[in-house]
């Protein structure tokens, strides 16, 4: 059976990992596609995946009882989506919806958590990468909070 290892190996996310680690991660990967408007996951559901976006766009939404869902971020080609699989209680904090036909590599987080428990080197490599992703997301969220294009500014 053809594996997804070659596809995964091309992605910058696994740059610096050894072949065995890439193969282990690929063992938890599958291809998936989502039609426009289809949800990849919904807020509150169990979070057992993360995604590598091969092609397409995903909106991260926060539900609101009084208005349409609020889009807080969009992700595009090549980006990594989802870290809730890594942090208890393993539930999605937000919902993810395809804004167009989207193809992804879907990584089984439950499978990976088990493998990381058995192989701490792999776990550390994954954590380093997710720490980097989380730091970027935190920076981005803080910048959004700053409201840097505030009307008081000249630029």
């Amino acid at each position: 059976m053809e594996t997804l290892e070659p596809l995964l190996a091309e992605h910058p996310f696994v740059r610096g990992m050894n072949q065995s680690q890439i193969e282990t991660i690929a063992g938890c990967a599958s291809n998936a596609r989502f039609e426009t408007g289809q949800y990849l996951f919904r807020e509150g559901e169990e979070a057992n995946q993360f995604y590598i976006l091969r092609k397409g766009r995903i909106a991260i939404e926060a539900a609101s009882p009084t208005r349409d869902p609020i889009v807080i971020h969009t992700y595009g080609d090549g980006e990594i989506l989802g870290w809730s699989w890594l942090v208890p209680p393993y539930r999605w904090r937000f919902s993810g919806k395809a804004l167009e036909l989207t193809r992804v590599l879907m990584l089984d987080g439950k499978c990976l958590r088990g493998k990381c428990e058995r192989d701490h080197d792999l776990g550390y490599e994954l954590l380093k990468r997710f720490a980097d992703i989380l730091a970027s997301r935190l920076d981005a969220a803080r910048l959004q909070l700053i409201d840097m294009y505030d009307k008081g500014g000249r630029r």
Partner: protein, 293 residues
């Protein structure tokens, strides 16, 4: 009307020399004045008959003067190939710009300039070029994009990343549409806050950097926007592998005289009006966190 010749052989970021009397404004006539967004507007100016027209370089600014009101530095946002029409886009935010937002076709505006340094458009030939604009920072970058696109074949990949506060704050919509349709230019627009009908990207402009194709070792980046956005953009570019020596930023300070006399815009050892506004990032990296005095 005479057109002063630009200096030849001065290199890519060379700017035309200052006017003979840089402190005296020249009257220009408003030929078009229009709103871009809720709080930004554009003035298109033509010279009074017989007046000298000075060439300008992409990235330079003029001091615009309203008699009895005051004078403000505003980047030139028009095409450097057509210096007979000066285009200025700015935000109505202070006493002078609020008055300027109300002026109409046929009114007169005093102009001193052009001043300052230029974007390294010519010296970037052969490279991939990434423009990152935030808010009204797209205005000072537009001349550089216009100049580059007039010789598009001389560059590798060209990308514009543009972030605005909301969809309603997006500048130059028509120009963006034309660039998308007519040129080999990858444009990504994002907003910090989506409104109901917005179908585009949401998130800060820095979040676009990981997803666009360019060769970091052969990329020149030009950034203009709020300084906090500049700092985070530089960080993301460096994460992608773009060296600080290939990053250029446009800074904004309290420019008054525009020729380096008064010191209002001093930033460490630099006068932003004279040594900038466009700086190689390396020159100002350590100064970017300093509060304006």
């Amino acid at each position: 009307m005479t057109l002063a010749a630009p200096e030849a052989g001065k290199g890519a970021a060379a700017a035309p020399p200052p006017a003979r009397d840089p402190m005296s404004p020249t009257p220009w006539r408003v030929c078009r004045a229009f709103r871009e967004t809720d709080d930004t507007f554009t003035l298109e100016l033509i010279p009074e008959p017989g007046r000298e027209v000075r060439p300008f370089a992409a990235g330079q600014f003029n001091m615009l003067y309203l008699p009895g009101i005051g004078e403000v530095p505003i980047s030139i946002s028009g095409d450097p190939a057509y210096p007979h029409t000066l285009v200025h886009t700015t935000r109505a935010v202070g006493a002078v710009t609020k008055k300027m937002a109300a002026i109409r076709r046929g009114d007169s505006v005093g102009v001193r300039g052009p001043f300052g340094t230029a974007w390294p458009v010519e010296s970037s030939e052969g490279s991939d070029v990434v423009f990152v604009a935030g808010g009204i920072g797209l205005a000072p970058l537009r001349p550089a994009l216009t100049q580059l696109l007039s010789r598009r074949e001389r560059y590798g990949r060209v990308v514009l990343l543009y972030g605005a506060r909301t969809p309603e704050d997006i500048l130059f919509r028509k120009t963006l549409r034309e660039w998308r349709a007519d040129f080999d230019l990858e444009i990504h627009v994002t907003v910090d806050r989506a409104t109901r009908d917005w179908r585009g990207n949401v998130g800060v402009v820095t979040s676009l950097i990981p997803r666009v194709p360019f060769e970091p070792g052969h990329t020149v980046a030009m950034i203009c926007g709020p300084e906090v956005m500049i700092r985070y953009t530089v960080m993301e570019l460096e994460r992608r592998g773009v060296g600080p020596d290939r990053i250029h930023v446009s800074l904004e300070r309290n420019m008054k005289c525009a020729v380096g006399f008064c010191g209002h815009c001093q930033l460490g050892p630099h006068f932003v009006c004279k040594d900038g506004p466009v700086f190689p990032y390396e020159k100002v990296a350590a100064l970017l966190n300093q509060r304006e005095v």
